[in-house]
């Protein structure tokens, strides 16, 4: 009789994923153990939801079923860091913050700064979580150069490699990024790294109207300045604060901060970012939206939000997070989505309180590629057992 090597226990309320309590929780500590779990789940026809540190389990739509919560935090090894190659291989359960401190000792960083505390690499990839410095480094898809994934039937498959430049085969890391665990369990990740910038200078500009951040961000984009982040914090229809971060060698950040103040018509400078920099807006009772638009679309996005909604926006890249009171969300979303059409905009529910989650259309219109996405899902997970219902189109 086969038994599992991995540690198992019954699920409880603290294990809930978007309000759904798993029947059982399993915590494998090796890739082979993950494969063993998934082979067994395949045999039993069980639904499986992978989770890391659970910092984003309130994100996305609720799973339609969760027989088994697959806790990846036991996959916690930094497998290989060759500083001279600016590449690191780390298992999915490694916490991003732990990886950053380890890389920092070598003067390097992984260019991802999502604010969720304790987030693991697997979770960051699967939720495609990003932060302010996406302006400088891109997002997970741009930095992930290799993956190992265990598929729904227990197959272990890698894609990419450990060199940055590599076009051999399909780049499946992109496919898994943001897939919310619906195609398989990401167990190992390989990343392109960057040198840790030695100096920082921050310019802060107070805005009487947060929408002014739109044209200011465009002006920065059109200049030759190279900020690593251009963040707006404020309220829709109210005031705001624009935070422009320069990170490079000391002489460069000093000169750029001066030039930025001139371009922006003033502002104060500091060596550190303000408290709460890059945090998602709102509290546990809010519905938090992620709105994406072309950079010039920021004012339109703000105008389409309920007045007073708290926002935090990566203004130069066109990603705006907004907190809407839970009771307003269901009515605000369709209005917002309609208004965003003009700026190629989309609005998705990033996280929602349990009470209103199921009443919301989390992902909104997906466009004419939805059927193709279904076909991809059907090939990877024909029985629809992997994080079922979490993703677009009920996938």
């Amino acid at each position: 009789m086969t038994t599992l090597t991995a540690e198992r226990r019954p699920g409880g309320p603290d294990d809930a994923v978007a309000g759904v309590v798993p029947r059982e929780v399993v915590r494998p500590t090796t890739v082979e153990e993950v494969a063993e779990v998934l082979r067994a789940a395949h045999g039993d026809g069980l639904s499986v939801v992978p989770v890391g540190s659970a910092s984003k389990t309130s994100w996305a739509a609720a799973p339609t079923s969760c027989d088994l919560l697959l806790d990846t935090t036991g996959l916690d090894r930094i497998v290989e860091h060759v500083a001279g190659d600016l590449v690191v291989i780390a298992e999915a359960g490694v916490r991003l913050a732990d990886l950053q401190s380890s890389l920092g000792e070598h003067g390097q960083l992984l260019g991802l700064d999502p604010p969720e505390s304790g987030a693991t690499l697997g979770g960051v990839v699967s939720a495609n979580a990003s932060g302010p410095r996406r302006l400088a480094y891109g997002t997970a898809r741009d930095l992930l150069i290799g993956t190992t994934v265990v598929l729904a039937d227990g197959t272990v498959a890698k894609a990419g490699g450990k060199v940055v430049k590599n076009v051999a085969g399909y780049d499946l890391g992109k496919l898994y990024t943001g897939a919310h665990g619906t195609l398989g369990v990401v167990v190992s990740t390989t990343w392109r790294l960057h040198p840790l910038p030695p100096a920082r200078r921050v310019v802060v500009v107070d805005l009487s109207d947060s929408a002014q951040a739109g044209p200011l961000a465009v002006a920065l984009n059109r200049s030759t300045l190279t900020p690593s982040a251009v963040e707006l914090v404020g309220t829709a229809g109210g005031t705001g604060q624009l935070v422009v971060v320069f990170e490079s060698i000391a002489e460069s950040v000093a000169a750029q901060a001066d030039a930025a103040r001139e371009l922006l018509g003033g502002g104060t400078t500091a060596d550190e970012v303000p408290d709460g920099f890059g945090a998602r807006p709102g509290g546990p009772s809010d519905v938090v939206l992620r709105i994406a638009h072309v950079p010039t679309g920021l004012p339109a996005a703000l105008a389409a939000l309920p007045a007073g909604a708290r926002i935090s926006a990566s203004a130069a890249t066109g990603v705006t997070y907004a907190a809407v009171p839970a009771e307003q969300a269901a009515s605000a979303l369709p209005r917002l989505r309609e208004a965003l059409g003009a700026v190629d905009g989309t609005a998705v529910v990033l996280r929602a309180p349990d009470a209103v989650r199921d009443a919301l259309d989390h992902w909104g219109p997906v466009g004419d590629a939805l059927e193709l996405m279904r076909r991809v899902k059907d090939r990877f997970d024909p029985e629809r057992r992997m994080s079922p219902g979490r993703f677009v189109g009920g996938l």
């Binding site: 059982e24 789940a41 045999g43 894609a159 430049k165 990024t177 030759t224 950079p295 992902w363």
Partner: protein, 504 residues
């Protein structure tokens, strides 16, 4: 790398008897897109028998010269209905045989789809058709202070559609990334003729990142008919230096030291003595006399940053025994430094009757060891290898020189080129950094990836192209039948029957 690929062996559904089937299809195509856009004359077809990798040649059954999205849709739909394979082709400059035609299929030429929309300067976006030449994008963007970052050496002639198919890189991808990092959206005609829109001008479109999956799929997932590109701001300052060394090891050590100093140059390119010799003969680029290796190092960014880091790089080069360092004083001098590098492939024709170009990648830190080993391998079979590479990201372009007139030399050269790729894999690298797998390297895929890895990639192929008619026989070492479209499972699974069902 035999002279001619076996025609037809990779095409599924090839039992209905070739010529009459494609003759019928040609008539349907003429009715759909206009007879003047459909070539069936053997002499005309021969023009399209190869791409930039001329040692593979297959004459297609039919060529369609598409001039609109509708022509592409009509062609693909008719191919799908007839079960006839199609191969999309842009400028035909690819170096892996990715646009090699199928002998019983349609070659869909996209080079007449050449519209560029006006630049959206505030959002740094431009929408273009796939036949647009890479350099035209930067030409249109420059007046707005913008540029298109991917810059393959063939950028004067290669097309954006081809760049997307191969996920083209270029010298500056060390800092700026590859095509996949600069394409925001694509309109794609799927292999059944349906049109989908992946991504768009804005970031974060909900759903799977099928755009990222499509880019670099070498024409096996569909045909892009429109692309939304992200442009970059032209940097305030650009500085280029050419550095001469008496040993390859010193040049390689300089590269490592620059990276270790926390500097990310826009480009670091390296050429060895043979490549320098060839470039001198071809374009008289005036590289330092007696150099065994040269580096072309370019930094860009804000003026103060470039000035400070450039001085630092110069100092690093000197401390690694550089015997000559030249700094480009103006754009003309910079252009000359790059001319030697960018013309290197063609220039090798000046010193050897024939050559194979490879595109392997190794971890940067393995550079000295791999170059040493490569030289030993070449010496062992009495062949010469010229090396031109993107040293910053470990992307080697060894050029294996040979003479067809010498009995057995082509074979030895092919073997050596293959062994070099295996050396790259063994060093933790890849068989291709930017040229693609195509026809040429598909058999090497099984050395880099396990059957499970390849089967998983094929899941994507089967979702996009269940009948396997889009560029069949490329990328994968063996074709795969996709079977029925999967649906919910019925009945007991074999694993469950075996008793594992009691685990949970």
């Amino acid at each position: 790398m035999t002279a001619v690929a076996e025609p037809g062996t990779d095409c599924p559904d090839d039992t209905s008897g070739g010529a009459p089937r494609t003759d019928r299809l040609a008539e349907q195509l003429k009715a759909a897109v206009g007879a003047e856009r459909v070539l069936t004359d053997r002499a005309q077809l021969r023009t399209y028998e190869c791409d930039g990798l001329a040692n593979f040649r297959v004459t297609p059954a039919v060529v369609v010269l598409a001039e609109s999205r509708q022509h592409v849709v009509d062609t693909v739909r008719l191919c799908a209905a007839a079960g006839v394979p199609f191969v999309a082709r842009g400028s035909g400059t690819g170096l892996s045989g990715g646009a090699l035609p199928s002998s019983d299929g349609v070659l869909l030429v996209l080079s007449r789809l050449r519209r560029l929309d006006p630049v959206d300067a505030d959002n740094a976006r431009i929408v273009v058709e796939p036949g647009v030449i890479n350099l035209w994008v930067t030409r249109d963007a420059t007046p707005h202070g913008l540029a298109y970052a991917p810059d393959p050496s063939s950028q004067l002639v290669c097309s954006i559609g081809g760049n997307v198919a191969e996920n083209a890189g270029g010298a500056h991808c060390l800092k700026y990334g590859f095509t996949v990092n600069h394409v925001m959206g694509a309109e794609v005609v799927l292999p059944d003729g349906d049109v989908v829109h992946l991504g768009g001008p804005a970031p974060e479109h909900p759903g799977y990142d099928l755009l990222g999956t499509f880019i670099g799929s070498e024409g096996t997932l569909g045909v892009a008919t429109e692309l939304t590109l992200r442009l970059i701001r032209i940097p305030e300052a650009v500085q280029t230096m050419l550095v001469g060394y008496r040993s390859v090891e010193d040049a390689a050590a300089t590269v490592s030291a620059i990276i270790a100093a926390g500097i990310v140059p826009a480009a670091i390119e390296m050429m060895d003595a043979l490549a320098i010799e060839a470039a001198e003969k071809a374009v008289a680029c005036g590289y330092p006399a007696g150099a065994v290796a040269v580096l072309v190092i370019e930094l860009d960014g804000p003026e103060v940053e470039v000035q400070a880091q450039f001085a630092q790089v110069e100092q690093i080069a000197t401390s690694h025994s550089a015997f000559e360092t030249r700094i480009a004083a103006n754009p003309a001098e910079r252009a000359l430094m790059w001319k030697g590098r960018k013309s290197a492939f063609a220039a090798v024709g000046r010193i050897s009757p024939s050559y194979f170009v490879q595109d392997g990648v190794i971890p940067r830190t393995q550079l000295p060891a791999v170059l040493h080993e490569m030289t030993a391998m070449a010496d062992a079979v009495g062949l010469r290898v010229a090396n031109v590479f993107h040293a910053g990201d470990g992307n080697l372009h060894p050029l294996v020189l040979f003479d067809d007139a010498v009995e057995g030399q082509a074979h030895d050269a092919e073997e050596l080129a293959g062994s070099i790729l295996e050396l790259c894999i063994a060093s933790g690298g890849s068989i291709t950094g930017e040229h693609g797998v195509g026809q040429e390297k598909r058999h090497k895929m099984a050395k880099q990836f396990t059957p499970e890895d390849l089967d998983t990639m094929q899941l994507v192929r089967c979702a996009f192209d269940p009948d396997g008619i889009a560029n069949p026989g490329k990328v994968f070492p063996t074709p795969r039948l996709c079977g029925e479209r999967p649906g919910p499972r019925t009945g007991q699974h074999e694993v469950q029957a075996a008793g594992l069902g009691e685990v949970f």
